[in-house]
């Protein structure tokens, strides 16, 4: 019986070296060689500075940018070191209250929105760092963006539709828009059209 413990200890040491060290090290080497961008977190730069990750959602509050979903990650939301959802159940008073609050805030921020309120903009994501909103969630915000930037809603809509990612292979997942990508495109488009963005608020 003692022999089993000695075998266990030796096998543990060997397998820790193989599967706990060599395997992740080798995979890191391979990943860094073949897919360095993804392996390092899909970082995104603008004007020479790293401004975020293409796969991680960020907190957006300024009216001239598209906003993401409510987030329960960290104190202010969108904290990748504190991921998670609200974990509130369907009959939770707190959930209903916070949904009401989100609806009111959305209406206040988007007085000219003509579309129905999209579900994703009033519910917290699972990770708290959801990088996407639904296309409906983006179109809903278009009139606000247009008025803030002094461009037409039509041109905002066309930027959105250029950045909608459909279902993978036509059937996996759901259509979505990456908020960071969309906001970068928005800044670029405004620069290109060279219209000075009037700020009225």
């Amino acid at each position: 019986m003692l022999k089993h413990f000695s075998t266990s200890v030796r096998l543990t040491i060997l397998t820790v070296v193989f599967f706990g060290l060599a395997y992740p090290f080798a995979m890191t080497g391979l990943a860094q060689a073949i897919f360095p961008n993804q392996a390092n977190g899909s970082l995104v730069s603008a004007s020479g500075k790293t401004i975020g990750s293409g796969i991680i959602g960020q907190l957006w509050t300024k009216p001239q940018y598209f906003h993401g979903r409510p987030s329960a990650a960290g104190k202010n939301g969108y904290d990748p070191t504190s991921t998670g959802g609200t974990n509130l159940g369907p009959t939770s008073k707190k959930l209903i209250a916070s949904t009401k609050q989100a609806i009111a805030a959305l209406r206040k921020d988007n007085p000219h929105a003509a579309l129905p309120i999209p579900m994703d903009l009033v519910t917290s994501s699972a990770s708290g760092i959801d990088p996407d909103i639904t296309p409906e969630g983006a179109y809903y915000q278009a009139p606000r963006i247009a008025s803030e930037r002094g461009i037409t809603t039509g041109s905002v809509n066309s930027i959105i539709s250029a950045h909608v990612r459909g279902r993978t292979f036509g059937f996996l997942g759901e259509p979505r828009v990456n908020v960071l990508e969309l906001n970068l495109a928005l800044d670029r488009a405004v620069l290109v059209s060279a219209t000075p963005a009037p700020r009225h608020r």
Binding site: F19, T91, T123
Partner: protein, 566 residues
């Protein structure tokens, strides 16, 4: 529900179906010691491991020795992880300078990963050093999965062999499962996941400033290598707190598809391995069929409930499916599919927060675990639990026709039925009693995130999940000393108290003589048998757990229809 939503479930199922035979056949070859295309690479490695560990390749163990080896190896693995977590602050690969894990949490986590549960009372991104993630958790993901596969193979040998006392060698089965099955698939899967965007690095977290000037800390680490084996080994312990809902662990709908496939792959393949090793593949396909029917029955309900959405939110004028605790890229369909898969198996990884599912959407994951995770199941554990139900079904069928029951040419007698029942009855004891206690004492109620029936569901889900070695959670339930200790004990018994009678059963079956099949022999691959097997599973599960489920999700559903909140 939509046609597209169903299409991803059906395509995933067809891919699993197509891979079941090749992977099952490959596993049968590996565990019968035959040459495979990977032998040239791994035979030398295997020999090296045996030489250093003092293992004889041709050693044969009786059931109790096999079981003792499993326990000894698990004890050493537990001690290693506990030690690692308690000392990680002083060890390398800790760029965030994370502190040593406190004793109660380290104990709970060490039990959790040793038992293939991967219940997590911590947030990985702010608790675990890279060394703990790799040499502790990733390593456990390999060996606890391999131990599960080994146990299933030992039971299959018990069924297939006649008049012998031995079931093979645990050391050899463990080594082969790791080397030939888990490692190669993990390597490929890891690279696919990196391609999709899962990080794989050793950097310290990077602080960036967004366009709006908000500071954000981007996490990193060797995530993809852990993610691959976490799903393949049906472990389910996330690198980060949000688990596979986090875009770090699961960035795209395609990575989601791959991860779901990994979760199902070995559990499905083992049904074929079983058929092959008992020399009648119809036996394996009968189990596969029963599993598939139960799988789709659960999926229909979860998908329907989540797509229909929360009536209380609809009253506020926002229509659509339930998106609370879900990611946009997955939506209701992929989240419902994942929830069904992760609880049909003993995986427990999540791509949405089950705590925020609708009442009925959350009921099905609970039921899947209460049925014993026999729908494809955990790697190995799914098959051995299912085979216990097969023995019970054969016995019930024997009672119906008044004949000594036989199973693959072996008489099922008092000892076998006693052992099978013992293993089945341990589950409700370990789920319902602690749930009742927790619901009555302040320590059990102190860390709930929800009140009313949903709070009770959080408790019931915690003990169901830990006992079933699943590890998914109604994650609002927070840790305290009471839950660290009780769920830890529950995980230990859930794994080992269940498996000891099963191994005794394997030993009893191996020692039996084969009796020739007669005209009155009940075939264990016919549609009638499949129906009877499903009936047995559902009746045992429903009779045991329906009253408790009624107090949680079922009553909550009725309240949600009335618009009552808590």
């Amino acid at each position: 529900m939509s046609v597209v939503g169903w299409l991803q479930a059906v395509v995933l199922f067809l891919v699993v179906l197509a891979l079941t035979k090749p992977i099952g056949l490959f596993m049968a070859k590996v565990f019968q010691g035959e040459r495979t295309w990977l032998s040239p690479v791994f035979v030398p490695v295997e020999r090296f491991i045996y030489r250093i560990s003092g293992v004889r390749e041709d050693e044969e163990m009786p059931w109790n020795t096999y079981m003792f080896a499993v326990l000894a190896f698990s004890a050493v693995g537990f001690a290693w992880l506990y030690l690692l977590l308690r000392t990680q602050a002083w060890l390398p690969f800790n760029p965030q300078h994370l502190a040593n894990v406190p004793p109660a949490l380290a104990w709970n986590t060490a039990v959790s990963f040793t038992t293939n549960t991967n219940w997590q009372f911590y947030s990985g991104e702010s608790t675990m050093s890279y060394l703990s993630q790799m040499a502790g958790l990733t390593w456990h993901n390999f060996v606890s999965a391999a131990a599960g596969i080994a146990l299933a193979i030992a039971l299959i040998r018990g069924i297939a062999r006649t008049t012998v006392k031995t079931l093979g060698s645990f050391w050899v089965d463990l080594t082969r499962a790791c080397l030939y099955i888990l490692l190669p698939i993990s390597i490929v899967a890891c690279l696919v996941l990196v391609m999709q965007g899962v990080p794989q690095n050793f950097h310290a977290y990077q602080t960036v400033t967004s366009i709006e000037g908000v500071s954000q800390t981007i996490t990193g680490g060797p995530m993809a290598s852990q993610e691959a084996i976490k799903e393949l080994g049906t472990n389910g312990g996330g690198f980060v707190n949000a688990n596979s809902a986090s875009p770090n662990e699961n960035p795209t709908p395609f990575s989601d598809f791959i991860e779901m496939l990994l979760i199902l792959l070995i559990g499905a393949g083992l049904t074929y391995t079983y058929g092959k090793m008992v020399k009648d593949t119809r036996q394996g396909w009968a189990l596969f069929t029963a599993m598939s029917l139960l799988f789709f029955a659960g999926l229909v309900v979860v998908y329907w409930a989540e797509a229909a959405g929360n009536p209380l939110t609809h009253h506020l004028g926002v229509l659509g499916s339930n998106m609370e605790g879900k990611e946009v890229r997955f939506g209701a369909a992929a989240s419902a599919l994942w929830a069904t898969i992760t609880t049909a198996t003993s995986c427990g990884a999540v791509n949405a927060m089950h705590d925020s599912f609708t009442a009925i959407g959350g009921l099905i994951p609970l039921i899947n675990m209460q049925l014993g995770e026999i729908i494809f199941g955990g790697v190995g554990s799914g098959l051995y639990t299912k085979l216990v139900f097969v023995v019970l079904t054969v016995f019930i069928a024997g009672l119906m026709v008044g004949r000594t029951p036989e199973f693959l040419g072996k008489k099922i007698e008092r000892r076998e039925v006693t052992l099978a029942m013992l293993s089945i009855l341990i589950t409700p004891l370990l789920v319902l009693v602690p749930t009742a206690i927790a619901a009555l004492i302040p320590a059990g109620l102190a860390t709930l995130n929800n009140s009313g029936p949903h709070g009770f569901s959080e408790i019931l889900y915690a003990f169901t999940s830990t006992n079933a070695n699943n590890g998914s959670a109604f994650a609002g339930l927070g840790p305290n000393l009471f839950y660290n200790l009780t769920t830890g004990v529950n995980m230990l018994f859930g794994r080992f108290a269940e498996v000891i009678p099963i191994m005794a059963l394997a030993g009893a079956l191996a020692g039996k003589k084969a009796v020739p099949e007669g005209s009155g022999t009940f075939t264990t691959y016919s549609p009638v048998f499949v129906a009877l097997l499903i009936g047995t599973i559902v009746i045992v599960g429903a009779l045991t757990f329906l009253p408790a489920d009624a107090l949680g999700p079922i009553v909550e559903h009725l309240f949600s229809l009335q618009g009552k909140t808590f």
